[in-house]
Symmetry: C2
Subunit: 129 residues, 2 copies
């Protein structure tokens, strides 16, 4: 534990001897960067988008409102699997739902999401990854 701290300290001293590596610059950078809370939440958002099943669900909802069994049919996956994923999407406020009789209909909750996904798709289509 203490050894680890000491090692890090040594490493920092060594590294700050580089011409452009003063402690001040590092501190400045930390200030310029988005707050760690914001970064964590953004990472959380991307993590939710970072699964093929959830991406399929979202792009399906991009077109129109769908109930759980629709999505289940469309993706050829079990109702339970879809339901679990929808809960994650709901918790991240990416989708909302409405009840109609026995069925529950899901739709996109936010316009930004479609934009972000479109941007991701474009990035992919332009040769990267």
């Amino acid at each position: 534990m203490e050894e680890k701290m000491k090692l890090l300290q040594e490493q920092e001293e060594l590294c700050t001897e580089h011409p452009h590596h003063s402690g001040l610059i590092l501190e400045e950078m930390q200030e310029k960067m988005p707050s760690s809370v914001e970064l964590e939440r953004t990472a959380e958002l991307f993590k939710v988008l970072g699964d093929p099943t959830r991406m399929q669900i979202l792009t399906a909802l991009f077109t129109q409102e769908l109930c759980v069994c629709d999505i289940s049919d469309l993706l050829g996956m079990s109702q339970s699997a879809i339901s679990h994923q929808l809960r994650l999407l709901r918790n991240s406020r990416l989708v909302k739902n409405r009840r109609e009789g026995k069925s529950i209909y899901y739709s996109l909750d936010d316009t930004h999401v479609a934009t972000i996904i479109a941007q991701g798709l474009e990035h992919i289509r332009h040769g990267n990854l």
Copy 2:
């Protein structure tokens, strides 16, 4: 195995009895959706963005080029951990590197990435998640 297929089949038949649930519509939707390959790659991209450490690295590089030990110092994490994450970012073509003496300097490889991250941050800042 066969039972599972049968169950899915039954479920599909039941669900397609809803007024708007014809097999045709499902097929149309599948055609409209981005190809599953594209979706998988996009999910892969978001998965890489979906980790706080990697997000911190990328936002740090947003400002300027940095060598590994800079990033290591800035985030207060081990050189090895950073190096492993940089490999992922490299494989996804999100960062590129250049050697200068003993050090290796990393920078953003793509302009889209900054846009996507900015959009994610905006989504977060506007109350969601």
